[in-house]
Amino acid sequence: MGVDELAQNEKPTEEVTPGEVAALSDSVIITQLSKLVSWGRQYSFFLYPFITACCGMEFMSVAGPRYDIDRFGAALPRFSPRQADLLMVVGTISHKQAPILVKIYNQMAEPKWVFAYGSCTVSGGMYNNYATVQGIDTLVPVDVYVPGCPPRPEMVLDGLIMLQEKVAREPEINMTRGVSPLGEADDRKIIA
């Protein structure tokens, strides 16, 4: 399936039109509510660890006793993409792996965020050859980039805090990302 053809499949998934959102966002109740929701989202990331390579070893340490990502409320790994909020892409993505990443991203329930963990996911890192994807932002939208090969756990925690700040600033309750422009739309269209 060609890229153009896939791009055409993209349809807006928002149920509320932008105009309506703008009108509502002026109201005091809605802004206070959205603040509360953002606060909740900020401290409750369920991770989907998309672990493929070396960075996974460091990811174990991030979850381990010394660095303890649980402190930030982001400890619970959910291996079902439906239940996850944060797609942690940990490790090199090869061209063989790319369709799976896109699929997992599309399967995740809104709202969702993507964390590019390690140089390979940021830019391809030291692998620039026929087999590797040069950065996962060519496949899915990315919120936080943490370079390093592998990044130290402190960097990951820093990245997570930055993501939390980003989520806290999120003005909309109904934040949707939609599907990746590259992948097939998931079954969500049927029910929406």
């Binding site: 061209h95 790319a98 896109v102 026929y130 060519t138 992948g183």
Partner: protein
């Protein structure tokens, strides 16, 4: 390590190791050998590709050698570096399938190589002798395009089915991408 001594040994044409002597004694008269050497202490037999099964069956079955483990199987593309091995040019060979065998019982190793030409990169599969060769042969096929005749399931293993060409060949560009999905980058 003692590699210095080995180098000297080659220069002096020192006596062969037991393994080499035995292999030479049996395989020599069979007329399958192209070349032998013991560079850096690694005993190496270079044999005709079409006779690889004969050679392997001997190495596997022989009581004195008993190579019961196929340690490694790979291929090398000598395109543009035929001078590395003197026997490649006369044969017009481009590839070499390299087998590393090991005997757990006797604790010795041997390397067997079979040169192949670009036109006919065919060699018989040794999966009948060592089942473990299965994936190694698939890998060599995947990355070098060497075809193993008689392999039960010869298809790509590391790359995906839609991939065209064999990336470890020297004429395949390092960054020539064929992505399954997404932009070419």
């Amino acid at each position: 390590m003692g590699d210095m001594n080995e180098e000297k040994k080659i220069e002096q044409g020192a006596s062969d190791s037991e393994v080499m002597a035995r292999a030479k004694a049996v395989l020599g008269p069979m007329g399958v050998m192209i070349h032998t050497h013991s560079q850096h202490g690694d005993d190496t037999l270079v044999v005709q590709a079409e006779d690889i099964l004969k050679v392997m069956e001997f190495l596997h079955g022989d009581e004195g050698l008993k190579f019961d483990m196929m340690m490694d199987l790979t291929a090398v593309d000598y395109l543009g570096a035929e001078e590395v091995h003197p026997y490649l040019k006369p044969m017009n060979a481009r590839f070499e399938v390299v087998y590393h065998l090991y005997s757990v019982e006797k604790n010795h190793r041997i390397r067997v190589k079979a040169p192949l030409t670009e036109e006919s990169p065919y060699v018989n599969s040794i999966t009948g002798i060592w089942v473990g060769a299965d994936w190694f042969e698939r890998e060599a096929f995947d990355l070098y395009g060497v075809v193993f005749r008689g392999h039960p399931n010869l298809k790509r293993i590391l790359l995906y089915e839609d991939f065209e060409g064999h990336p470890l060949r020297k004429d395949y560009g390092k960054m020539k991408r064929q992505p399954l999905i997404g932009p070419v980058n």
